[in-house]
């Protein structure tokens, strides 16, 4: 084969599907044209807790176009699986407001929606409890926290160390419920035929969705096909399976017709997951020179009554700073609320808001520069496991960021820099994200014409995954980018892990590398491509199963400059700058987009995002984008992302760490710390609303 020097990885390759997307040819879940399609409109519960005692479908059935109405009394039975959220229409119990209790199937969307309003539902209402409190009597310790970590970890004797510490910080931080709100709402087209079930779905993982849905219907995963070539954002909300896709499949099964179900923006606030609110207490004990003697981080969070999702809020604290005495805990309470799920760095994002705010408070208490404080507490090895870090360049990120941002001359005094009516302040925070990798399969095929096809059920949810995998394949095959096709987004392809935990590129890229290596060897052995082409397959289960002797994490540092109107309390971010240590950056263009996107979400988390709970009715008041504010372009005047050179041989063949989520981790704390520097006001409960900044 003709060979060229490896060169695609590391270049700013354009998105391979860019033209398709900007010309509108890329098909999203809702857009697949299918014959004979009908529409499903779910009926959500209007009570937060109770039992459905009667469902009157008579009126709805008389509506023009209506084909059927399903509810727990007539819905096909599903098999029990681990997650009761997926037992859609199987029981009269109502676990949260907005839970699906019926669905209307009609010939048009309008007919379905109209008839859904006419389904009469009678409830036996029970008193609900939707309020998260740190002193809730039903708090308990979950067995494990997401993804599979111990709930509590302790080393040394933190209580004694805290009592003896000359300097302490003891503060409670709160983060609200937040909703992922990807641009593209969740949507499914479900079709049953002789082969089984086909789902066109907006998902972060075709294989994992297939594996989750098949057992519900008592069929083999091979009888389910999930097709998701393009996904308009997920941010975690399309990672775990949620009720809508099951409802669509159920409706299609019952009617024998392909069913299309698109979740409305409003319904997304109850049936597609969200970030749990947290109440976090952080206690730090230190010497006057800033050296930590104790770190205690306790988190209280919620889940629903029907499924436990325990977010790993305090886990980043286990690896961030050296201190001989430490404890991290998680407590959960099951409320009459929807089940929380993954959202934009679950655990790390809210947890690091608390820890990095507390570190800023400690810096002030010790009279130390916050960067210096962090450097002084840099651990030699992973404080939790004692393992060496495969690479840890937090200090390099802090220093490089400080230089680029212009930190050197910073006056630490809060509330003294004025520019007109604005109070100006700067803040810094560290960020971290674990390195995850999962086993995958992939095939690589050489065609006689010199074209190569790599197949893997990976997902590109807007990250640029398809492009980066093409780059990886091209380099291993030593051919130009244009000769490689990468097929993803379909469970009929070799099984792959989902786009989550910032692990996609590491997991899929390893399989793609191994497949392309195997193909290269095969072609060498054959002395070229046979006229029928040649295909090889790989499975990285074994490679991935090898335990690592290293603690593997990405690190970063975010810097923020804010201006706060001292009269009105309006806080605006003037500048955001992040520096990251994430191994090898495979495509600087798509990587920068991930970082600045993440930091923008962090800004949004700091100043805007909050799902406001209506305690009386048990649902979220601001369930649309007019009221749930996500940062607009005008709120992000300047955001810069950089990375330090980091060569780490202990990760994967690409030498890369995940970059999808680390951008958001730390950013909210950097903004909150900057607000404190600007105003002298320490806001410990997000978001930093304007009325919190009036004195």
């Amino acid at each position: 084969m003709t060979t060229v020097a490896a060169r695609a990885v590391g270049t700013e390759a354009d998105r391979v599907e860019g033209l398709e997307k900007v010309t509108g040819r890329a098909r999203y879940a809702f857009e697949h044209p299918i014959e004979d399609m009908v529409y499903a409109a779910p009926v959500p519960s209007v009570v937060a807790r109770g039992e459905v005692i009667a469902v009157d479908v008579a009126e709805a059935l008389t509506f023009p176009g209506v084909i059927d109405v399903l509810w727990h009394g007539n819905a096909p039975k599903l098999e029990r699986v681990g997650n009761a959220e997926l037992h859609v229409l199987q029981s009269p119990r109502v676990a949260y407001r907005g839970q699906y209790i019926a669905v209307v199937i009609a010939k048009t969307l309008e007919e379905a929606r109209e008839a859904a309003l006419r389904v009469g539902v009678e409830y036996a209402v029970e008193r609900h409890d939707v309020g998260l409190r740190a002193d809730h009597p039903r708090l308990y310790r979950p067995e494990r926290v997401n993804p599979d970590l111990p709930a509590d970890v302790q080393q040394g004797d933190p209580d004694t160390a805290l009592a003896a510490a000359p300097v302490t910080v003891d503060a409670v931080y709160r983060t609200p419920a937040e909703h992922n709100n990807p641009m593209e709402p969740h949507a499914t087209v479900a079709r049953w035929d002789a082969e089984g079930l086909t789902l066109y779905d907006s998902t972060q993982g075709a294989t994992s969705l297939r594996d989750a849905v098949a057992p519900l219907f008592g069929i083999e995963p091979s009888s389910v096909r999930v097709i998701a070539p393009h996904v308009g954002g997920g941010f975690g909300a399309k990672g775990e399976p949620h009720p809508p896709v099951v409802l669509a499949a159920l409706a299609a099964r019952r009617t024998g017709r392909p069913v299309k179900l698109a979740v409305t923006r409003q319904q997304m606030f109850s049936v597609t997951g969200y970030r749990t609110p947290t109440i976090q207490r952080v206690r730090l004990g230190a010497h006057p020179d800033g050296h930590l003697t104790a770190i205690v981080h306790d988190a209280v969070e919620q889940s629903s009554t029907i499924h436990e999702f325990a977010e790993q809020t305090t886990t980043p604290t286990r690896i961030m700073y050296a201190a001989p005495n430490r404890r991290t805990t998680h407590r959960l309470v099951r409320l009459d609320v929807p089940t929380p799920s993954w959202m934009r760095a679950p655990g790390e994002a809210p947890g690091m808001f608390a820890l990095e705010s507390a570190m800023d408070e400690l810096a002030a208490a010790c009279g130390l520069d916050p960067i210096e404080l962090r450097i002084r507490n840099e651990p030699e090895v992973d404080p939790e496991t004692g393992l060496p870090f495969s690479s840890r360049n937090l200090v390099a990120c802090l220093r490089d960021g400080a230089r680029r941002f212009g930190w050197a001359d910073r006056d630490p005094a809060p509330g003294v820099r004025r520019r007109g009516r604005l109070l100006i302040g700067t803040g810094v925070a560290a960020s971290t994200y674990p390195v995850y990798r999962s086993a995958c399969q992939a095939t690589a095929r050489a065609e006689p014409g010199g074209i190569f096809t790599v197949r893997i059920a990976a997902a590109d949810i807007g990250t640029g995954a398809r492009t980066v995998l093409t780059q990886i394949a091209a380099d291993v095959l030593r051919v130009p980018l244009g000769r490689v096709r990468v097929a993803i987004g379909d469970s009929a392809l070799p099984r792959a892990s989902l786009a989550g935990g910032s692990s996609g590129t590491a997991s899929w890229g390893t399989a793609v590398t191994r497949a392309c290596e195997a193909l290269r060897d095969e072609l060498d052995r054959r002395g070229g491509t046979p006229s029928t082409g040649v295909t090889v397959s790989v499975d990285t289960t074994e490679e991935n199963g090898e335990p690592s002797r290293f603690a593997r994490h990405a690190f970063g540092a975010q810097f923020a400059e804010v201006g706060v109107d001292r009269d009105t309390g309006e806080a605006r971010v003037r500048r955001l700058l992040g520096v990251f240590a994430v191994g090898r950056v495979l495509n600087p263009k798509t990587a920068r987009s991930q970082f600045i996107g993440g930091m923008t979400m962090g800004l949004s988390m700091a100043l805007l995002e909050e799902s406001v709970l209506d305690r009386e009715f048990g649902d979220y008041l601001n369930h649309d984008l007019a009221q749930y504010h996500v940062a607009a372009c005008a709120d992000v005047p300047a955001v810069e992302a950089y990375w330090v050179e980091e060569s780490d041989p202990h990760l994967n063949p690409m030498g890369s760490k995940g970059i999808g989520e680390i951008g958001i981790v730390g950013t909210a704390a950097a903004v909150a710390n900057a607000v404190h520097h600007a105003t002298g006001i320490r806001v410990r409960d997000l978001p930093i609303r304007l009325d919190k900044l009036l004195t």
């Binding site: 009269d567 005008a634 304007l690 009325d691």
Partner: protein, 289 residues
């Protein structure tokens, strides 16, 4: 749903007389949201877009008559000099897409207490020209137009044709507080207009009462206190008192966007700020007026 498309103003009035339940639609940036959210289900929509005159303006006897269908974008482009307060408010509306479609007439039709055009219209003593086939046209002062949350003095068979307002003879300012920099409903807003020839001051409060309203006591107080002739610098105590009186004129509520206390406080800030801007401009123009 029936979609009525009158070709002329007269025809629009005919249709509205015949079908008082027909919902007028101009830019649709409020109407379509309400339909989408199923907040209303009009049996008929009355599309005013074909009535070209609604998107034009003219001057008669020194008074501007601005068509109800004029978009924020055209208003900013064509009337910034004559209606600086309204133009400033228009710049804060939504996003470019919304400003390209949305109109002042639609803002009036919706009569939301948070509508951004209301405070400057109030401050500039605008009058709303409404018309029905049965009773012809009448001019409603802005102060009498807003009657409750999303309720106005418009009768079911009437349509808004235009608003009338004198071109500014003095400084006009608008200021709005929101949680983000674009696409944001006002937490509260305030407009001020100085009328040096009349030695009067107009104000408008937005998003801090069931209706947009003027702060009458504040207006009288400040008109009497301002040193119109010498144009001397403002006494900080006077500015502070003005802010207090404006805040007192509001009757805000707590909601998702802000607390009542915050709104009262912030209105005081906006009042002091816009007054200061306006007075500085007035002082600068000592030689020109």
């Amino acid at each position: 749903m029936e979609f009525l498309r009158p070709a002329s103003w007269a025809e629009a009035l005919e249709l509205k007389a015949e079908y008082p339940d027909a919902v007028p639609i101009q830019g649709g940036t409020d109407v379509m949201v309400e339909i989408n959210f199923d907040l209303r289900r009009p049996a008929r929509l009355l599309d005013l877009n074909p009535v070209a005159e609604l998107s034009r303006w003219s001057t008669t006897g020194g008074v501007l008559r601005v068509g109800a269908g004029m978009t924020y974008t055209s208003l900013i482009r064509e009337l910034s000099a004559d209606l600086p307060g309204l133009a400033q408010a228009s710049r804060t509306v939504g996003s470019p897409q919304i400003r390209n479609r949305g109109s002042v007439g639609g803002n009036l039709g919706a009569a939301s207490p948070a509508g951004d055009s209301h405070p400057p219209l109030l401050a500039a003593d605008a009058e709303i020209e409404v018309e029905s086939r049965a009773r012809g046209s009448r001019l409603i002062p802005a102060t009498a137009f807003y009657q409750g949350v999303k309720r106005s003095a418009l009768a079911p068979d009437e349509l808004i044709r235009a608003f009338h307002v004198a071109p500014a003879t003095g400084p006009q300012y608008f200021s709005k507080i929101g949680t983000r920099n674009a696409m944001v409903i006002a937490v509260c807003s305030f407009a001020i207009a100085l009328h040096p020839r009349r030695r009067a001051v107009g104000t408008g409060i937005g998003s801090a009462a069931p209706t947009p309203r003027r702060a009458g006591a504040a207006e009288e107080y400040i008109a009497a206190e301002l040193d119109w002739d010498s144009r001397a610098a403002l006494d900080p105590r006077v500015v502070a008192r003005f802010g207090e009186l404006v805040a007192q004129a509001a009757s805000p509520i707590d909601d998702v966007r802000g607390t009542a206390d915050y709104r009262r406080h912030a209105l005081g800030v906006l009042a002091r700020r816009t007054l200061t801007w306006a007075w500085h401009e007035h002082m600068r123009e000592r030689t020109t007026t």
